[in-house]
C-alpha cells in the first residue's frame, strides 16, 4: 500500500472511531433524560440473574472464569469484559456465605480480579471477609488453566460457572465439569473456536457480539445501553457498506 492509501485508511479508521464515540456519548446523554432499554432480548441473561439469586440463597458459590487472554491486544478486551462481569456479579453475590471465586490464567487479570473482589467487599463494608484466594491464577497455559480450574468447580460447591474471557477449545473441559456437577453455565468469548465449543457444550452460549452486551443486560447503565445501540447502528452501516461495495464490484463500477 502506498503512503496516501495508508493515510486514507488511518483517517477512515479515526473517523469510524470518532463516529462510534459520538454515538455512544449522544445516546448516553439521551439515556439520562429518558430510559433506554436494550432492543434485543437475550435469554441467557435471565438465566444468569436466576443463577446468581439461586447461588446466594442456597449458599453455594459462583465461579467466574476470565480465561488466559491477559490485557494486551484483542484478547485483552475479552478479559476486560470478563472482569466487568466479575465486578457486577461480585457486588451482588458477595453477600452470600460463599463469595464468588474468579479464576484466570494470567497474572495481570488475576491481580485485577482480586482487586475487583476486594472492592466489592469494601463497598459492602465487609472487607474482613475478603480472601486473596477468591481471585486466583489456575494455570498459565490454556490447558493447565482448564485443568487448574476443574478442582474449583468440583470441590468448592459451585452452583454456576460464568465463562467470560479469552479461551480456546479447552473451555469444553470447564463447561463439561459444570454440567457434571449439575451447575448452570453461561459462556461467552471473543474466540471463534471457543464459541463453537461453547455452543455445543452449554445451554447458554453467547455468540458473537452478544458477549459484549453483558454490561447492558446486567445493570443497564445508560452508557452500556448506549454503547449497544451504537453497535447496532454501526453494524447496519457496515452491512450496508459491504453490500453496496459488493454490488458496485459486481456491476463493474469499481
Amino acid at each position: 500500500m502506498n503512503l496516501p492509501a495508508v493515510i486514507s485508511v488511518k483517517l477512515a479508521g479515526l473517523l469510524f472511531v470518532l463516529i462510534f464515540l459520538g454515538l455512544i456519548i449522544g445516546f448516553t446523554l439521551r439515556g439520562r433524560v429518558r430510559t433506554l432499554v436494550p432492543r434485543r432480548k437475550i435469554l441467557a441473561f435471565n438465566r444468569l440473574r436466576d443463577a446468581i439469586g439461586l447461588g446466594v440463597e442456597s449458599g453455594s458459590r459462583l465461579h467466574i472464569s476470565i480465561g488466559w487472554g491477559g490485557l494486551l491486544g484483542i484478547p485483552g478486551i475479552g478479559s476486560l469484559i470478563g472482569l466487568s462481569i466479575a465486578k457486577r456479579v461480585a457486588k451482588i453475590a458477595s453477600i452470600s456465605d460463599k463469595p464468588p471465586i474468579i479464576t484466570s490464567g494470567e497474572g495481570a487479570t488475576a491481580v485485577l480480579s482480586r482487586d475487583t473482589m476486594q472492592t466489592a467487599f469494601r463497598e459492602l463494608n465487609q472487607e474482613d471477609k475478603f480472601d486473596t484466594g477468591l481471585g486466583r491464577t489456575s494455570g498459565v497455559t490454556p490447558f493447565s488453566y482448564a485443568a487448574g480450574t476443574l478442582p474449583v468447580i468440583y470441590d468448592e460447591t459451585v452452583s454456576a460457572t460464568i465463562v467470560g474471557g479469552h479461551l480456546g477449545s479447552e473451555v469444553g473441559l470447564i463447561t463439561d465439569a459444570t454440567q457434571r456437577t449439575g451447575g448452570v453455565s453461561l459462556t461467552g468469548s471473543d474466540n471463534l473456536p471457543a464459541q463453537a465449543v461453547m455452543f455445543g457444550t452449554t445451554h447458554e452460549a453467547l455468540i458473537g457480539e452478544d458477549y459484549y452486551a453483558v454490561d447492558a443486560f446486567l445493570d443497564g447503565e445508560p452508557v452500556h445501553i448506549a454503547s449497544l445501540q451504537a453497535q447496532d447502528i454501526l453494524r447496519w452501516m457496515l452491512t450496508g457498506g459491504i453490500l453496496i461495495g459488493a454490488l458496485l464490484k459486481f456491476t463493474g463500477l469499481i
Binding site: K10, L11, L14, V17, F20, L21, I24, I25, G70, L71, L72, I77, L80, I81, S84, K87, S104, G107, A108, A110, V111, D115, T116, Q118, T132, G133, R136, T137, G139, T141, F143, S144, A147, G148, P151, S169, E170, G172, L173, T175, Q179, D190, V197, G200, T201, I207, G208, D210, Y211, A213, D215, E221, V223, H224, S227, L228, A230, Q231, R235, L238
Partner: protein
C-alpha cells in the same frame, strides 16, 4: 482521590496510544511505542505475580488439609523441581527441555485427547437435551466436515471431497461468511468496550 487519578491516568495513556495509531506525529508515535513497551514489561512482571499466586493458593490448600489435596502437593513439588532445574541449568538446557517434552507436552496432549471425548459426549448430549433445527444443522455440519476431511480408502469421492466438493463449499462459503459476520460483531464489541474504558465509563479495576 484514588479513583479519579487512576481513571485519569488510564484515559490519558489510552488516548495517547490510540491517537498514536491514527495520527502520524513523531512524538505521538514515540510515546505510543514507549507506553506499549511499558505495558509489555508490566505484563511480564504480572506473570511472576500470577505464578506466586498459584503457588500460594496451592500451599494454603495443602497446609489446610494435606490429605484432601494431593494434587496441590504434586503441583508444588513439580514447580519446585522445574524452578531448580531451569534456574540452575537454564531454561533452554537439555534437562529443562526434557521436563517440557516428557512431562508438560504429554500432559497437555492427554488433556487434548480428553477434550475430544468430552466434545463427542457433549454432541450426543446436545441431541438429547436440545433437539431443534439449529442443533441438527450444527451436528450434521460437524459430522460432514469430519467424515469428509480425508479421502476414504485413499479415494476422494467426487462431489463430496476435493476442490468443488460439498466439504470445500461448506468450508469456503457458509463457514467463512458466518465467521466474518461474527467477527464484525466481535470487532464492534471490542471497539465499544475499548472506548468505554477510554472515556472512563468502564473501570476494570477497583474504582
Amino acid at each position: 482521590m484514588k479513583v479519579p487519578i487512576s481513571t485519569a491516568i488510564a484515559m490519558a495513556f489510552g488516548l495517547i496510544v490510540l491517537m498514536g495509531y491514527f495520527i502520524d506525529i513523531p512524538i505521538l508515535i514515540t510515546l505510543r511505542d514507549i507506553f506499549v513497551r511499558w505495558a509489555v514489561l508490566l505484563m511480564t512482571v504480572a506473570v511472576i505475580i500470577g505464578i506466586v499466586n498459584l503457588v500460594n493458593v496451592h500451599w494454603n490448600k495443602f497446609t489446610k488439609d494435606p490429605g484432601e489435596n494431593p494434587y496441590s502437593i504434586i503441583l508444588l513439588v513439580a514447580f519446585g523441581l522445574t524452578l531448580i532445574v531451569a534456574g540452575f541449568f537454564g531454561p533452554t538446557s537439555e534437562w529443562s527441555l526434557w521436563i517440557f517434552n516428557h512431562i508438560q507436552m504429554p500432559v497437555e496432549q492427554s488433556l487434548m485427547a480428553i477434550l475430544v471425548v468430552v466434545l463427542i459426549y457433549s454432541a450426543a448430549r446436545m441431541f438429547k437435551d436440545r433437539f431443534n433445527l439449529i442443533s441438527v444443522v450444527f451436528i450434521t455440519t460437524v459430522l460432514m466436515m469430519l467424515i469428509l476431511a480425508v479421502p476414504w480408502f485413499g479415494v476422494a469421492i467426487p462431489g463430496l471431497q476435493g476442490p468443488g466438493g460439498i466439504r470445500s463449499f461448506i468450508a469456503e462459503i457458509p463457514a467463512v461468511a458466518g465467521a466474518r459476520g461474527i467477527l464484525i460483531g466481535i470487532g464492534l464489541g471490542t471497539i465499544a468496550t475499548g472506548l468505554r474504558v477510554l472515556i472512563g465509563a468502564d473501570r476494570p479495576y477497583g474504582g
